[in-house]
Amino acid sequence: MTLLAMRGVTKRFGAVAALSGVDFDLEAGEVHALVGENGAGKSTLMKILAGVQPLDDGTMTLEGREVRFRNVSDAQARGVVMVYQELALVPALSVAENLFLGTLTGIVRYRALRERARALLAQVDLDLDPETEVERLSIGEKQLVEIARALAREGRVLVLDEPTAALSSSETERLFELIAKVKAAGVSVVYISHRLEEVFRIADRVTVLRDGRLVGTRALGDTTPDEVVEMMVGSAVHRYQRPDRHRDERLGRFELDIAGEAPIEITVHAGEIVGLAGVIGSGRERVLPSAFGLRDGARWGEQPLRSPREAIRAGIMLVPSDRKSQGLVLELSVQENVSLGTLSRLQRFGFMRPEAERAQTRHWIDMLSLRPPLPHKPVRELSGGNQQKVVLAKALAIEPTVLLLDEPTRGVDVGARAELYDVIDDLSTRGLGLLLSSSDTEELIGLSDRILVFRGGRVITELRPPFTYEEVVAHVTGARQLA
């Protein structure tokens, strides 16, 4: 029996069409997986279902009656509850308080609250004192508390947005048992995930979105992982790929502990761009911080990397993923930011050398075509792409031999992105070794000389050009291991 039907759902954010005419059906008591690449519109579709965001166009019918949710409690009243990708618990409150947040009125009877909380936690097999503050829980426990909270709302539709991204494998197992349990109780579950092996294990049907459009819905029995990947990436578009270049000058080898079973090794050659692929939780996101001395147990050849200063001395520099909180001092000017890593070279007897500093800034402004080319402009006032160029200039000014790029184009508009790609490409032809960690498959394919794919804290495969989009996505999502 069809419990829920969404028809022609359309949603725009300014100029971005997040969803265009999407249809989505949910049967009573089914587990329905929703997949698609980053930015495909999965979270947006489900936020509309859960009353977080209004739709611009389209209809929703629940049990044959058309509904329109104005807010989250509207949706909850009709039995639709969602556990968000970015968890929404209040850290300083207790588990019990969080469970009933928003449903409490008047005087709170704590004893009764505790008892009901205990019962709910038992439902999700969580052996926890309801008085515990949420900030002391592990991410997996928080996830389970979120689900318990959803159950407390007596939901008939439970939406889980990438719930396993940060879970350990034992926590993931618990989650799956729980999903089986609520399904048996007649609840419908929408399960958003990048991991196809999970989808093929627990889901009854799968719906694929691409660029805000519905590609199709399949029963899991009638499809294969390869078909799902193909649906995700679309027909093979020919994209720019760098020619297979031969290089032999070896710069060195990283030995990194990224919390897998064993340390991993990455050899870097001069003029080479090594792409790092993997979903969040695969260990990929730990590689660059580790290579920059921010985690224990990292070495570059024989040289231990115990701090950023040690890494920099070894000729390794990082362009961090979050430029505002890690890359820039927003109060300072372009020039002052560019100089941050080279203060020791720009001074004599402790005094800054204004000539040297100006010359260095000028050089990098020209080299990276920073706009506007004003060294004294506060970086706060630059666009995202130009801010990223400042971070890059700072990193290059120290003249590293290995440059670590962590999500270098996140939050950068299309035009500036192309410029950054040119710069990165140019750097590799100058003999720099680059590690590029990115969640953007297209970016990895366009820039990398080889791509290392991470899962469970290990490199599961190394891909060489010519890359195909399907191949990369298949490995990243785990579809290749299923086939």
Binding site: Q326, G327, V329, E336, S339, L340, L343, F351, I398
Partner: protein, 316 residues
Amino acid sequence: MSLARVNWRELFARFGLVLALIALVIILSLLSDRFMTQSNLINVLRQISINAIIAAGMTVVIIGRGIDLSVGSLLALTGVVGAALAVGGLPAGIAIAAALGLGLAMGVFNGAFVAYAGIAPFIVTLAGLTIFRGMALAFTDGRPISGLPPIFMTIGYGSFLGLPVPVWIMLGFLLLTHVILRYTALGRSIYAIGGNEEAARLSGIPVRRVLLFTFAYSGLAAALASVVLNGRLNSAQPSAGVMFELDAIAAVVVGGTSLFGGRGGVFGTLVGALIIGVINNGMNLLNVPSFYQQIVKGGVILGALLIERVVSTRRS
């Protein structure tokens, strides 16, 4: 920029403090004919010198996103130790150098707890505030030390080119601080750390060493202020300097340095100290009872912060 299109907000953000000071001076010279005299103005400068010296050190700490509550007590400690050494027969120059060295060392003590043990500056220096006071009292058994050698009189009451020696010491120390902050790699590192410690660390700046320096420098400033105060009083009191930390912080924030770090400078601190000094002086001349003076002083601090907030939020 044509004259008709003056950007008043920008102008105010940059020169508002100085304009406020000028306005204050004009108002007071209208209210009291004893205000705008050479001797009174020099008097104001001498009165603010001790606060301005401490506040210069405080500025360095605050730009690095710290705070130093221990300066008043440290002033008492270095004051009595320096005086005791001088009275005990050590050459006065060496006794003064020892006092300065002690201030530096105690600043390093504060800084080590902040930078290497990772304890919040507020807590560390709050502990310092009671520890240093206790040490000063224990060292002297609670009694003042008098009979200082004549060089202290010269420091406290001498004058040079028409300005009192304490004013010269203040100007010299402010200039030194200004040079460090604006023209050295160390100064640049302090602004960077105060603005974004994480970005500074990932750029390879030795964050801990720089933070250690800021507290050491503040300790040195407190010790220098104690030498001047010993000269003015011609004795050393273990109870000296109570609440001086608050006057110093007030001068810094009235002077436009952000308590959130990364922004400000020592010129603003001088103007801040002048504004507070002029208000105190004016109220004395106008015979405002001292209880009311405290209320006015607090009001000025709040007003300055309010204006800073309005200007800076409009800007971003």
